[in-house]
Amino acid sequence: MAWRRLFEHRLGMIGLVVILGNILLAILAPWIASDPLKVDVANREAFPSREFFFGTDEYGRDIFSRVIYGTRISLYISLLSVAVASIFGVAIGAVAGYYGGLTDNILMRFMDAIMSFPAILLAIGIMAVLGGHLFNVVIALGFVYIPRFARIIRGSVLSLKEKGFVEASLAMGNSDLIIIWRHILPNCTAPLIVQATVSLAYAILAEASLSFLGLGAPPPAPSWGNILSDARNFMLDAPWMTVFPGIAITLAVLGFNLFGDALRDVLDPRLK
């Protein structure tokens, strides 16, 4: 039922196609693109051509290959960081919502404290402490996105724990842990999926920003932010160096946002 409504959601399907295209490119990168790190002094700052679809950068590296390989880094970081954020966020939100009272207060004030920093600023701070490494980006972004998951799950749990089936399950002799795991969390999946999809878009953008600022994957790794960062000085002479990674970021973010919105339309009963 919900599936059919999702498939009939035109913008959402466009988003899904873009996402699947991204995933496909990331998987097939070695077959589509050539070595993203290969320096070709003879072809520095080459205009897009049949040989170099997106042109080359100041070292003669093929931008097409770099953008394709950038898809891998981008997806790797966004998926992992959202996974980290949702695991911790769900755990914290579920405990806070179910037990309430002091537990709730302590956990949620801690979440508020994280939220009070602009996400990207906090991520920059964490990266400055941890140092530039791909995995550190996952930790930084994962940490920054925990509160939004915690808040959404807590909200759902607060309303779910008043439901009859939770009381019935208690009366049947189940422990709190089983009730949270079996009766509450399965009913929270809809908001969780929506939040995760939308967060993926943010994570892609945040990863690009961090790389652009030199705090993400250390160069010469072909992340989109790195390509943009390299291209900054040549924007007027070689605009293709900025345009193509820019388009890649825009498309990826747009894809996840469109699909996330479609999921929300389909899954959120309040919007029906």
Binding site: G101, K163, G164, F165, E167, A168, S169, L170, A171, M172, G173, N174, S175, I178, R182, H183, P186, N187
Partner: protein, 325 residues
């Protein structure tokens, strides 16, 4: 006398910002093995809280069982650690809730929920558990149980859902079933059906039922004894016949007169239905003497000052009222 459940002077209070609500204020009652006891009274008189106290499910905070004893086969449930209470819940005492619509988890099939009940308390294999679940569904007269067991709750009608809840409650053959308005949410024809099944099955497994309801007709038909509660206290208790023919407490008398009778319409001129004047006193601020005094049609002066003592009218029939003492 073989008592399955013996509640002695139970007090469950709710500590809220507005004060202390004495929801259950010194209730004593007992159930014999295999007996059906009707617990009746208005909304908010403490019937449900009494049942929740038995399973220690009163939400805490704000609720708290302040004092008393709840003896299950002589073992005080209020003294047990939570872990042992959990083993008793669903296994030796099970509960049927009022709302079949929301007492089943919409995310799981009927099978998942019935098996959960079995796996929580018994170490049995999946195949055997499923066979038992299907057998139980057949007993509660669900057609084609092998097929329906894979349905989700939203695919069943209200009556079927309530029968599934009954199946779940009886699956482990408990000694005591707390049925909190088990049929209030169903329409009348289904009510009779569901109750029939409930009584038949409890007879078979020898379980006692604490039947909580405000439907006196239901009590008259099925219960052996009745306990009438008002404002957190037991005002009258006795065998069904004694209560219905010889009610002594003005509240019980009022309740009985407030039941509409189909015959009243024809023949004689239409009668307005009797109502008990006034409203239930605030549980935060109970009157000093008898809690029913402000609504009593024929109070005595003593009633305002002193709480009535329980007196025996006949064997097993007790009333807490100053009138006639």
């Amino acid at each position: 006398m073989d008592k399955v459940l013996d509640i002695r002077d139970l007090k469950t209070f709710f500590y809220t910002r507005d004060g202390v609500a004495k929801a259950v204020n010194g209730v004593s009652l007992f159930l014999k093995r295999g007996e059906i006891l009707g617990l009746v009274g208005e909304s908010g008189c403490g019937k449900s809280v009494t049942a929740l106290s038995i399973l220690r499910l009163v939400p805490d905070p704000p609720g708290k069982i302040v004092s008393g004893q709840i003896l299950l086969d002589g073992m005080d449930l209020l003294q047990l650690p939570l872990k042992q209470i959990r083993q008793i819940r669903g296994d030796r005492i099970s509960m049927i809730f009022q709302e079949p619509m929301i007492s089943l988890n919409p995310a799981f099939t009927i099978k998942d929920q019935l098996l959960e009940a079995l796996f929580t308390h018994r170490e049995i294999g999946r195949a055997e558990a499923q066979a038992r679940a299907i057998a139980m569904l057949r007993l509660v007269e669900i057609p084609e149980p092998e097929k329906r067991i894979n349905d989700y709750p939203h695919q069943l009608s209200g009556g079927m859902r309530q029968r599934v809840m009954i199946a779940e409650a009886l699956l482990l053959k408990p000694e005591l079933i707390l049925a909190d308005e088990p049929t209030t949410a169903l329409d009348v024809t289904i009510q009779a059906q569901v109750l029939d099944i409930l009584y038949k099955l409890t007879q078979e497994i020898g379980a006692a039922i604490l039947l909580i309801t405000h439907n006196l007709g239901l009590v008259a038909e099925s219960a052996q004894r009745v306990v009438v509660m008002y404002a957190g206290q037991v005002v009258e208790e006795g065998p069904v016949a004694a209560i219905f023919q010889n009610a002594r407490h003005p509240y019980t008398q009022g309740l009985l007169r407030s039941v509409p009778l189909p015959g009243q319409r024809r023949g004689q001129q239409r009668q307005t239905l009797y109502e008990i004047k006034g409203i239930v006193p605030s549980l935060f601020d109970l009157p000093p003497g008898c809690a029913f005094y402000p609504r009593c049609p024929s109070p005595k002066t003593l009633c305002a000052a002193e709480e009535p003592r329980q007196v025996a009218i006949s064997p097993g029939h007790y009333v807490s009222c100053w009138r006639g003492q």
